[in-house]
Symmetry: C2
């Protein structure tokens, strides 16, 4: 399959490299890492085994890639206003667009730009960071859950799942993308927000009882708002406890927003906080802690 | 009047100096500023006019002061476990103890140690900082409101008010010290907490609409909890708006907790947050934002 990676941060580089290793024809749109990768290839340091790709199809603009079968979007959501320019040259009649970006609102925007029938959304439970140019670190987890934005083509979805699985990615499909997105927010809202605000990794938050309680209170707010969005099935409160246990295994992991702040980048407050808060507010769900965390992050 | 100042930070130095200038016999318990003040006196830089006290009765321990008529306590509340040692040597049969410390719980502790009948409490609306040793800066406001802890001796209270007023302090009495303390918390909880957390002065918080709203939401939580404590009169919601306007005049003022954090001191989380939260919780008042702010400060 000819695949383009748009937004080659840690997530895009990692999944793109695994797919290339699995035999796909992968093209990366690169900025920071272009020179390093074109000269020296791409090195993946992974808990599943390191590997090295000596030859990578890197591009500075989408126009040299041409039409592809699958576009994987890993762009930071604060750069979403470049999506049109980045993706348009990659589209053929049958191109599918899979966004693995954070938060809410990305499928909606892509559907508006390129047509709802092309769009698949997904969430990645991946702990990864970029290293020096040409290196990416896969630290923990890695599962992707993907779903049709409009339930257009279930067969296409399962074909991607099996292609990804064959390439070595832990990939599942969901029949309720909205629920899957909100379940991811149950993690993203407390951990991206608090780790970025306090500049502390996951384990620091979880080891202090009153902060662990705050994390859980935030999770419950998100679950309560999620369950008012017409999901196929309610998310139970105990999902928060499972998520806490899952996070206990992450050690000193720094979520993307913490790294974004440390490196002076913009924060993904709109997609991870403001859009979910807007959906909560439309259903009259009080989310005082989530709202407070958003306001504090905006104030930084 | 023979007066001892216990806890000669910005507040203790400022009020002590004004009282000495007004003719009182003031003794200061000093640590950081002892050498500077004994050698070079105490300089007050005040919006009401600078003045200089060439000769100040400084002490390193309370035992050299002897019994006084009035003890003014300005100690940081996290040092409250030294109150017994610091105050005991200052007590005669008729000594009154006035605590101007932050938060809740100070009168209770002093009453337990030295007898409720001695205790007067007060809140100071004073913007002041210590400068280099021997210098104190009075930046804005300055009013003290004092009240009997147990309504023991209203005449004594009014005598202190008139002594302070004659010395040039803007001093009023209150018949409901509890209400006055909670009213002060309506300021202290949002501003001490948020300025310390974000390391931003008052005007930065107030100029961002979503942060200004958060400040107000915190104020309303405090007012709601206050009004369940059996006050003589309810604090109206519009008190929050008045407090916001009052704070608009403070400019780049840094509250004490922000300075404590910057200078690596402990924070007064117990007195300003945890005791009020405990009183709120006893009356079943939900204070999610206040609770969250306390947890975040404890996490720093």
């Amino acid at each position: 399959m000819k695949i383009a990676i748009v937004g080659a941060g840690a997530l895009g580089l990692y999944y793109g490299a695994v797919l290339q290793k699995g035999g796909h024809n992968v093209h990366f749109l690169l900025r920071r890492d272009y020179d390093a990768i074109m000269n020296n290839g791409l090195t993946v340091h992974s808990i599943n085994g390191d590997f090295y790709l000596p030859s990578v199809a890197g591009h500075k603009t989408a126009s040299t890639v041409g039409a592809v079968e699958l576009v994987i979007v890993g762009l930071k959501t604060f750069a979403n206003n470049s999506l049109n320019e980045l993706i348009k040259p990659l589209l053929g009649a049958e191109t599918t667009i899979l966004t693995l970006q954070n938060g809410l609102g990305n499928e909606e925007l892509l559907a508006e730009l390129f047509g709802a029938e092309r769009i698949i959304g997904g969430v990645a439970f991946l702990c990864s960071n970029r290293g020096e140019p040409g290196h990416v670190h896969h630290l923990a987890a890695g599962r992707i859950i993907i779903g049709e934005y409009q339930l257009c083509d279930k067969e296409r979805l399962e074909r991607i799942v099996s292609d990804f699985t064959a390439a070595g990615i832990d990939c599942r499909s969901t029949g309720d993308l909205k629920k899957t997105r909100w379940e991811k927010l149950v993690w993203n809202i407390p951990f991206n927000g608090l780790c970025a605000l306090l500049q502390q990794p996951v384990e620091r938050l979880l080891s202090a009882p009153q902060c662990r309680r705050l994390v859980r209170d935030l999770m419950i707010e998100v679950i309560t708002a999620a369950n008012m969005q017409g999901l196929s099935q309610a998310i139970p409160e105990k999902f928060a406890d499972g998520m806490l246990e899952f996070s206990d295994g992450m050690g000193a992991y720094k979520p993307s927003m913490q790294i974004d702040r440390k490196e002076g980048r913009e924060l993904e407050i709109q997609a991870i906080f403001r859009v979910p808060l807007e959906y909560g507010s439309r259903q009259m769900v009080a989310m005082p802690r989530t709202e407070m965390l958003a306001a504090l992050l905006e104030q930084l």
